[in-house]
């Protein structure tokens, strides 16, 4: 699936988007896989309560299943308007 990062999550990880081959069952499983990769991921995902996630461009929860998902995005709380 495609994994996207925005705002300071993008800055900490250093890339806006990457292809991730994962068999993670839920968003939180994916977060744990990413955390284990490198320090920059561990830093970005240090506190998931400070993050939001979207699955296929809809806001979702961290316990949401990833079955059949094409795109997951991680970002801080939004500050539009």
């Amino acid at each position: 699936m495609d994994v996207l990062y925005f705002a300071w999550v993008r800055e900490r990880i250093g890339i806006p988007k990457e292809r991730v081959d994962s068999s993670a069952a839920t968003v939180m499983d994916l977060v744990n896989e990413l955390r284990a990769r490198e320090d920059r991921y561990a830093a970005a995902f240090e506190d998931v309560s400070a993050l939001r996630v979207a699955i296929d461009q809809e806001l979702a929860d961290f316990d949401a299943p990833l079955d059949g998902v094409r795109e997951v995005a991680f970002f801080p709380p939004m500050t539009g308007g």
């Binding site: 996207l4 925005f6 705002a7 300071w8 979207a54 461009q57 809809e58 806001l59 995005a73 970002f75 801080p76 709380p77 939004m78 500050t79 539009g80 308007g81």
Partner: protein, 146 residues
């Protein structure tokens, strides 16, 4: 209903006049405009990042919720991204309804949801560096009234 996500500036006057004149049954038109302001001094630019694709979906969904929930004839959302300077207009919403209560409430609803549920992130650039704008608890709390 019109949703626009763009880097280009928009003209509040033109947009408001065009929106109002397009309504044939509405006695009440409300607009809200957000302007870049320099609160603590030294702001050189406001950079707005967004999530292409999801942004349009989220704004369309929020506007459709407003149309379904209030007796609106029309709604407009324009939101810019990219680099803006102090005094520039960031975004606007407009609502048209027969009664002012619907137009006001729907405009406030649009703003509350747009603030916390549309994928935009603001970064302030000052002489001291750059900092992401933190989400405010009161913006999240504002959603609870709807």
């Amino acid at each position: 209903m019109r949703i626009a996500v763009q880097t280009a500036p928009f003209d509040l006057g033109d947009e408001a006049a065009r929106f109002a004149s397009a309504q044939s049954h509405s006695g009440a038109v409300v607009t809200f405009t957000g302007v870049v302001r320099d609160v603590s001094g030294g702001l050189q630019a406001m950079e707005i990042e967004h999530y292409p694709g999801m942004t349009e979906r989220a704004l369309t969904d929020i506007a459709q919720q407003a149309m379904d929930r209030w007796s609106l004839e029309d709604a407009l959302v324009i939101h810019r991204h990219g680099t803006l300077t102090v005094g520039e207009q960031i975004m606007m919403v407009a609502t048209a309804a027969r009664h002012r209560k619907d137009a006001f409430e729907a405009a406030e609803f649009l703003m509350d949801y747009l603030k916390s549920r549309a994928p935009f992130w603001k970064r302030e650039v000052t002489g001291d560096g750059e900092a992401w704008v933190a989400a405010r608890d009161e913006d999240e709390d504002a959603l609870k009234r709807w």
